[in-house]
Symmetry: C2
Subunit: 250 residues, 2 copies
């Protein structure tokens, strides 16, 4: 059983303000919770139904609270709760930004949809990208919808909120800065490095002016066939997937 | 102003049962509504705010009903209504399935999330794929969330609900049948044709046994670097994007 105070507290973590104050966040579902428990991220406790615990006897958490379906429903951010919820500590992910000179990193300029952010984190994980630099206007990585969409990848990818134009400016001349634009150059004809930053833009407006000014390599994912009328653009997480796959294929 | 009956009727179209009975569906937002109006899909009427109409004077619809923000909010399926909503007729998209011998087509085996289906339709449009064949268990193409996620592409891509295992079986020997599997062969080492079917599977379970039995070419999107622990899989729309991009790059 969870106490009334615990229930109130967990529900408060839906809001960014409370996540920031407490340094905690909520993860749901067996896959995500178990991945996080194995990731080195600090866990406060998990709350799970009898049925879930019976099917996951090996689970190791600092504290396990047994809860009912009904109680879980009252704290879950999902329509259909998945048997387990965990309270975890946010990472102190300080990083020397010169990492972009050694590795390929992603940067997000005001990506606003939490689901898109989560999907992008999952993509980064698949393609071995360890660091994502986000503008301050980007969705919060600890939003429950983001955490859910990462399907556990949030434990393996580091997300940093930075002054993005400044980071890009300081990278010029040291590592390539790529960005996707609808009037960019066909990615399949470009040289792609093993280090640097790939900038992806906002869902409606693409990459903002301040960031665009520091982008040396303008990439385009060509539609097919070239002349046919088609959608105006691809969704930002879709585009990220295609770009990352192409960098890693080379 | 919309009548009470119209409001009730529009709201009823959130349910598949009512969409099926009436052969109608709802689209929202300027981009989607305008793309549909220009696509040849039959429009019943649009309802839009004064402000939206002032900014879109050129819009041509069989009937335009001016509505208030408040009224629009009461019929919208979105949290933040976007000024316009349209009622459209479902397409009678009968097709000779031998089209898979001439063109590259997609097939979806029980893709359940309406948002994923919509994103996949948008991807198909970008890559010039005109036909998507869905198993009967796949989400409804006219679900408001699907329509929304297509961003207008729904007017340019034909979606057919079929007996999918049967279609795949009848395609063997006439055109290649591809599918993605976590134990498939690296897509970058495979020969990829300009025709045939690419099967994508359910979010949780992948491609079902019945369909898998008829898939000749088993593809895998390799993670990077190969040995590193990573996410179990990619989201189905993410994987579709990478696969379609690779077929069209060749």
């Amino acid at each position: 059983m969870l106490s009334k105070n615990q229930i109130k507290f967990i529900r408060s973590l839906e809001q960014k303000k409370h996540r920031k104050e407490t340094g905690l966040f909520v993860a749901e579902g067996g896959k995500t919770v178990c991945d996080l428990l194995g990731s080195g991220i600090r866990c406060e406790y998990i709350a799970a139904t009898k049925e879930w615990l019976a099917g996951n006897r090996g689970v190791k958490a600092p504290r396990i609270i047994e809860t009912s379906e009904e109680e879980l429903k009252s704290i879950s951010f999902l329509r259909a709760p998945q048997g387990v919820i965990g309270i975890f500590g946010q990472r102190d992910a300080a990083v020397d930004t010169s990492v972009v000179q050694q590795q390929l990193c992603l940067a997000l300029d005001d990506v606003q949809d939490p689901g898109n952010l989560g999907t992008i984190i999952r993509i980064a994980d698949w393609f071995g990208i360890e660091h994502i630099f986000c503008s301050q206007g980007t969705a919060d990585v600890y939003n429950p919808k983001t955490v859910q969409a990462t399907m556990g990848a949030i434990g393996r990818v580091n997300v940093h909120y930075v002054n993005l134009p400044q980071l890009l400016e300081s990278t010029i001349g040291k590592a390539p800065v790529y960005g996707t634009f609808l009037d960019g150059e066909n990615i399949y004809g470009k040289t792609l490095a093993k280090n640097g930053i790939i900038v992806m833009g906002n869902e409606g407006n693409g990459i903002g002016k301040e960031c665009a000014a520091h982008i040396g390599e303008r990439l385009l994912i060509p539609s097919y066939p070239a002349e046919r009328p088609t959608s105006e653009s691809l969704n930002v997480s879709t585009a990220t997937a295609i770009i990352c796959a192409e960098f890693r294929r080379r």
